[in-house]
Structure formats: C-alpha cells, structure tokens
Amino acid sequence: MQLVKEYDKFITGINSKDRFFWKELYSNYYAALCNYSSKIINDRDASEDIVQNILVSLWDSSMIFNDISGLTSFLYKSVYNRSLNFIRDAKNKVNANLDTTYSTENLESYYISLAIEEEVINKFYKALDSMSSQQKNVIILTLKGESIESISNLLSISINTVKTHKKRAYNYIKDQLGDSFFILNILIFLK
C-alpha cells in the first residue's frame, strides 16, 4: 500500500468537476496564478479576483483538458489575458486612451517567460514541501551554494548525514516525481 500521485486521475477529476480534485487544483495553482497576475497588474486584491473568476467560470464551463500541460497553459494564458484586460479597462477609466503596446509579440513572450518562472517556483516548492524538514534544509542550503561541510556545521549534523540527505532527496525526486512531476498530496481513488 502506498500513497500515490496520479495525474491522469487528477485531470479526469478536474474535467468532471470533482470537488476533491478541485481542491488540489486550488492548492497547486491558486497562489502561483495570483502572484503571476499581481506582477502584471500590480494590484494584489484585483489579482485574486481575476484568478477566482477564471476558476469559477472554468467550473461552470464544460471545458475538457487532455493533460496537465493543457490545463497549465490554459490557466496562465487566461490570467495573462484577463490581467491585460484589467489594465486596459483601468486605463480607459483614467484617460480613455488605449495602450497598444500590449499586443506586441515581444511582450507576450516576456509574460510567458514570467509564467514559466512562476511555475518553476511552484513545482519547486511543491516538491520541497513533500520532503522532510531536514532534507528540505539541506536542499535549500545546497542551493545557496553552501558546501557539505558548512551545511554539516550549520545544521549540526554529521557530514555523512548531509550526504545521505542529499542522496535521498535526489532519489526521492527521481523516483517519486519522475515523469509525472505534478504532486498530489493526498491519494486518489474513487470514480
């Protein structure tokens, strides 16, 4: 018996509006999407409204996704579009002067790379969250460029323990995340 991550089931659950999987959807994307939107529009509350509106209309729609890629790109693209609309509408109110710069291809590419950045961090933290706290610390310190010796000093653990943690964390990622990097915190079954 083991806890599993399964992401075909996740997509099916999203498509069939299963509440359990929708909670996972919120848990996995909500903060990332809000953060992304607030970078574009620089308005924290409005970014939450934008994201919630997208998710609510997705719930009400009969849209079907084939895989996680489709879902991820739909979500970021929708947030991008609605955020630009928000800026446009806000500007309209102020001086009724439509800014056309937002339609340039360059800018879209920039926002796509911003979305990728957001998603990298998202996946990074989701994976990190599922590790033990000491493994997590070892990984974070390693990323900060600390050597094995200094990690051993900082965390007051032996050099061998640091090595073991690094190795385990690496194996964990390889085994557990593999192809379906997407992590579901709770196991999936039913339906």
């Binding site: 953060n35 996680i68 693209k77 990622i173 196991l187």
Partner: protein, 381 residues
C-alpha cells in the same frame, strides 16, 4: 503551436534540475537562490483555502436557491427530510410537472430474513423458522447451541471443541440480520452480505470472514484479537465498535470506527494502519490506495438503527445502497445525473417512493419503475 503550451514542460525540467541539484542545467536566473526564496514571500500572500471554500459555498448557494422551492413543497408531504446540496448545472424548470402516481409505492424492503448454512452444509431458512414457531428455536452443533428468536441468532458454547466448525449466514438483498457470536460479539449484517464464523472461537485468534457490510461490537479480550477478513483486507481489534463495508461490486472498502481503535491492513501486507475514533479508512480494491478521513460516524452506521443516512453522496452511491435494500435494479438512461450529490436521512422501512419524489422534483430526475428495475434519466419537458 501555442507558445503557452510549453509552460508545463519547461518549468518541469527546470524545477527538476533545481531539486536534483543540477543547477548548471537550470536557467541562469535560478542559479541565484535568493530569487527562489523571495518568491515564497510573494506567494504566501495568497490563501487558496479561502478561495476554494468560496467556490464551494457559491455552488451550494446556487443550488439552494434553485431547489429551495421544491424542497419546501416536498417537505410538506414527506415525513423524511432531505437537503439537496450539490452540483446540478442544469437549469431547473420553473414549474413542477404533475406527479404521476406510479407503482413506486410497491417497492418495499423484504421481511427480515436470512439463510444459515451449518458446518455440514445443511441450510436453514431463518424466515421459515420464525413463521413456524414464534418462540425461540434451538440448534445444537458440537459443544455449541444456537438460539434463534425474533432478535436474530445467538450462539453459546459449553467449552472449546476439538475441531473448528464454521457457520455461514447469508443475508439477501432487501433484508438485514443480527447475530450474537459465541464470544459475546454482536454483529449487525446489512443487506446482500455474508458472514462466515466459527461456532466456537479458538483460544488465541478470533476470525470471521465478511463479504458485504456489517457493524461489529466486539467483546473485549486483551489476549485474543478479533479479525474481520474481507476478500482484500483485514481489520483487527481487541474490543471496539466499528463498521466494515466491503461489497464485491464496489471498488472501495470502507472501515469506520465508532469506538476504541482498530488496525487495518491489506491482505498479504505487513504494514498496518491504526484508526482512531471517528476515523474512516477508504481502501481501493483496485489500486491498493487508501485514505483516512475524519467522518461523522453516524452517517455510516445509521443503517443498523433502521435509518438511511448520507451526506454528500452521489446519486450512484445512494442508488447502489437503495437497490440492495429495496431489491431493485437500476438503469441510468442519462449519465449526467450520476454525480448529483444529496444529503439526508430516511426511515429504511418506508417505501422507496418518498425518496424518489425528492429526486424527481428536486433534481429534475425522471424515474420509471418497470420489471423490478428503476430507469433514471433527466426529466424532459
């Protein structure tokens, strides 16, 4: 090709590199780990739980608005209460069509009946016994005596026997039965269930085999564990109250604990899971996955007190339960109704009609009863 479609792939690769410490292969900007840390601060401003709850609340409110009118009407003529909670995106028509009086009233549970199979294969129809003799009836097997009366079966023994004799009780659809085992353990068996048990338990291990659903009140013995074995898993206890639901036509085994603690494990596995009071483990026969949830235990054991209680169950789950109890088959003519969710409770010994009126009116489902089969579909007007 839409450039947005690459987000998942690229971000997965970079994140994977970051975590596996292949920083060189990650994008340049992520080599600066302070960037990683700063992101977390931005992210933490947003609380997904609140947003998710507001979506669920919104859905409920929509539904209550849609259904409140029907619910009020229904409550007037139903002795049962049922709150329609969730998920129908169909617009409910603004009028209730004429309620047709059909043959649903005929659907009633059977009398209490069961079949007892003795160790030698001899079968006793427990219904016949009650019909013939209103008083109690005795059957002797080895060192044990079975008393059969209006409450059910009661086993007692005059000491351990040399060989283990097994009895099996089979409960048909539409019935339920009660058995008091030799050690004092009380078992309530639900419809369409089967329990095999020794007439006298051995000194070191009490073991019974269940297919279907049963509620156990195990008499305490610190030296002699009690095991409930189903085709896929095993529950072991010292002395507690719990419910096991393990029907062969259902994918999930539900074990719900009302008192004490129990240990649950997959057959053949060495790993066991300890449940605490108020917890339920749902185990998938198919994948071997499981999840433990805090539940309202009464929703899962109400059946033994002659109630149907359910909370946020899908129409399919409710119908499966009803089909066992009322001995009917179910055919879904529209798929979109299967996931409608309902909550409520109902007296098991009522006719099924009261149940269906609310499905018909509240959720716009059309129910036709023909050849002992219920045909369910979305109502067309």
């Amino acid at each position: 090709m839409d450039k947005w479609e690459d987000i998942e792939k690229i971000s997965k690769k970079i994140a994977s590199n970051l975590l596996s410490n292949n920083i060189d292969e990650s994008e340049d900007k992520f080599r600066d780990s302070s960037l990683l840390m700063n992101y977390k601060k931005g992210r933490d401003r947003f609380n997904y739980t609140k947003a998710f709850n507001s979506l669920i609340l919104r859905n409920r409110r929509l539904l209550i608005l849609r259904y409140s009118k029907y619910a009020a009407i229904a409550l007037l003529f139903l002795s049962t209460s049922l709150i329609v909670l969730n998920i129908s995106k169909k617009n409910i028509e603004d009028h209730i069509s004429e309620i047709e009086e059909n043959s649903l009233a005929e659907i009633k549970p059977l009398e209490k009946q069961a079949k007892l199979i003795l160790n030698d294969g001899k079968e006793i129809s427990l219904k016949d016994i009650e019909l013939i003799n209103n008083n109690s009836h005795l059957v002797s097997q080895g060192n044990s005596t079975i008393t059969i009366d209006s409450t059910g079966l009661n086993y007692s023994s005059s000491g351990a026997s040399d060989s283990v004799l097994y009895n099996t009780i089979v409960i048909p659809r539409g019935s339920e039965y009660y058995v008091a085992l030799e050690d004092g353990t009380k078992v309530w068996l639900n419809a369409d269930s089967k329990l095999k048990y020794p007439v006298v338990f051995s000194e070191d291990r009490r073991e019974v085999y269940l297919e279907g659903e049963a509620y156990f009140e195990v008499s305490h013995s610190s030296s002699n564990r009690f095991f409930v074995v189903t085709p896929t898993c095993e529950v072991s206890v010292l002395g507690t109250k719990f419910n096991v639901k393990s029907y062969s036509d259902e994918k999930i085994v539900y074990t719900t604990l009302a008192q004490g603690s129990i240990s649950f494990k997959e057959l053949g596995s060495s790993e066991s899971i300890i449940l605490k009071v108020g917890e339920q483990i749902a185990y998938s026969n198919i994948t071997g996955d499981y999840v433990v949830n805090k539940v309202n235990v009464n929703n899962y054991i109400g059946w033994k007190d002659k109630l149907f209680t359910f909370k946020n169950l899908s129409l399919v789950e409710i119908m499966t339960m009803l089909s066992r109890w009322y001995c009917v088959d179910i055919v879904y003519e529209s798929n979109d109704i299967k996931n409608l969710e309902f909550s409520g409770n109902l007296d098991k010994y009522n006719s099924i009609e009261s149940f269906f009126k609310i499905f018909e009116e509240g959720a716009n489902i059309d129910i036709v009863f023909k050849n002992n089969t219920l045909f369910l579909k979305t109502k067309t007007n």
